[in-house]
């Protein structure tokens, strides 16, 4: 169970050298239901990654509160798994040892951790590569392994920061479909940051469109399309059109 509630969160960065102040997030509030798939979409530099990092506990908000199931978030915790945009697998560990890492940190014995890790490696389709080192894998496979690693801790929320951003278009489509399958199977809450409108429309229950800096919520768009979704259906196109127009408004506002 993973209900995330974000209340009046602001984040101000202070630059030491220039005495400058940048407001990255301004009074952001929304709730994510248990098992919901939310995409955060916005122009680059709008603070969407900052918001996700605050939810992960890797950064702190200047004001406001974020809770997971009613408990305030104060720091990183394995209950909130994260997949990064950059390749983040530990290059000195094989795929399976990467996936067992979180379990080892919990103090689970190596043998048991391996057994559990194998389930998740199967889930993302990397059985053949479990003893490979990251440098031996393609970008898509590395991100699959990173998803397996995040899932192995059985988090209540899965945070994803443009995880498919560096992949080619076809691999990205495949991984989106696979992610949805996993999400349906695991009933896990997903918060997914992206700059791709297509990706947001295919994946999410709701799209959180943000304004240009300082990031605020411009509009929350409900994606009422049945799954599995057809990427090219007229309804999907209409939705894409609507979201693109929202983003365009932001572009010309400055």
């Amino acid at each position: 169970m993973g209900r995330v509630s974000i209340k009046n969160v602001s984040r101000i960065f202070i630059k030491k050298e220039e005495n400058g102040v940048t407001e990255a997030l301004h009074d952001v509030s929304f709730d994510v239901e248990d098992g919901e798939f939310i995409c955060i979409l916005g122009p680059s530099g709008c603070g969407k990654t900052t918001l996700l990092r605050i939810i992960a506990g890797l950064e702190t908000q200047t004001s406001g509160e974020i809770t997971l199931n009613g408990v305030p978030i104060t720091g990183p915790d394995p209950k909130r798994g994260m997949v990064f945009q950059q390749y983040s697998l530990f290059p000195w560990r094989t795929v399976i040892d990467n996936v067992t890492f979180g379990l080892e940190m919990q103090g689970i014995s190596k043998a048991e951790a391996r057994q559990q890790a194998e389930k998740y490696i199967d889930l993302v389709g990397l059985e053949q590569f479990k003893n490979s080192y990251p440098y031996e894998l393609s970008g898509g496979m590395q991100q699959r392994a990173a998803i397996a690693r995040a899932l192995a801790n059985e988090p209540e929320v899965l945070l994803m920061d443009e995880p498919f951003g560096a992949l080619d278009a076809q691999t990205r489509n495949i991984l989106q479909d696979e992610l949805l399958k996993i999400w349906e199977q695991k009933h896990i809450t997903c918060i997914f940051v992206t700059h791709s409108v297509d990706e947001a429309v295919v994946l999410s229950d709701r799209i959180l469109v943000m304004t240009a800096r300082p990031g605020r919520i411009k509009e929350i768009v409900t994606v009422d399309l049945p799954r599995p979704r057809c990427r090219t259906s007229p309804e999907a196109n209409r939705l894409r059109d609507r979201v693109l127009k929202l983003l365009e408004e932001e572009r010309f506002k400055k």
């Binding site: 506990g57 890797l58 530990f90 000195w92 560990r93």
Partner: protein, 262 residues
């Protein structure tokens, strides 16, 4: 069998031929042109002297002594250099505290420590080991520090969200493995410096055996063929240590970097 023999020759032919020609030129120049065993001992002289020290067993005691000196230095440099480098690389305050001291001590050539090595430790193995230590410790500290500074942030963050949040665990599970290529490079540089310091320390009379000592001792006796034997011996032992280390590190510790260009 024959095929394999031919293949080996084909594969290493140029290298082997080059070595043979170099030795031949050396022999001819020494034997026919210089004709002075003191100025330039010939290859044959050197081989002769080599068999003498093998038969007398001197080679073993001297090599062993030098290796003991070297080991004392390397162990001390490891136990002091690596933790210092880690502390400096991980904790900003530790870096600010330790860095000025290191920057002042580092430019002092290790050999300048020889008098104090003798005063503090006497003419003992520890004195030679100390000079080796001084030569080795700085490259190790600096490379460990650099390796730690360059640990990609995303690994640390990934570890944190996976439940690895304590400094000690982050150092052990993330920073040390990630910095290992840099640490290993530092150790290799340090071994080269340490080997040089070892010879100098032994020459300066810190010890009364060892390969470096024998070079100086035989020079006093005007036995230049023996000097050359010990010189070559130093080169070979140094080469062996480096090869062994590289093999061990590449095969065991750094297998995961096989894809990167080094």
């Amino acid at each position: 069998m024959k095929n394999r023999f031919i293949k080996t020759i084909e594969e290493n032919g140029i290298e082997a031929l080059s070595l043979i020609i170099a030795v031949a030129i050396w022999q001819i120049v020494a034997d026919r042109i210089v004709q002075n065993k003191f100025l330039l001992p010939s290859f044959y002289d050197v081989v002769n002297s080599f068999t003498i020290i093998v038969e007398s067993g001197l080679i073993y005691t001297d090599t062993l002594t030098s290796l003991v000196h070297f080991s004392i230095g390397i162990i001390a440099a490891f136990t002091i250099g690596i933790p210092l480098g880690i502390a400096m690389g991980w904790f900003r305050k530790a870096n600010r505290a330790i860095d000025p001291i290191i920057e002042i001590l580092r430019p002092i050539p290790p050999l300048a420590w020889i008098p104090f090595a003798i005063v503090w430790f006497g003419l003992t193995r520890q004195a030679a080991g100390f000079v080796v230590f001084v030569g080795m410790v700085f490259p190790i500290i600096i490379n460990t520090y650099t390796g730690f500074k360059n640990v990609p942030k995303v690994y640390v963050e990934a570890a944190k969200v996976l439940g690895c949040t304590r400094d000690l665990d982050l150092i052990r599970y993330i920073a040390i493995p990630s910095a290992m290529p840099s640490i290993a490079a530092g150790i290799r540089i340090a071994m080269g410096v340490g080997w040089m310091c070892l010879v100098a320390a032994e020459m300066f009379g810190v010890s009364d055996n060892g390969l470096g000592y024998q070079i100086w001792h035989n020079y006093y006796l005007h036995r230049m063929d023996f000097v050359l034997v010990y010189m070559l011996l130093l080169g070979f032992v140094g080469l062996l240590i480096d090869r062994f280390f590289r093999y061990y590190v590449d095969a065991k510790l750094l297998r995961w970097t096989a894809g990167t260009v080094v």
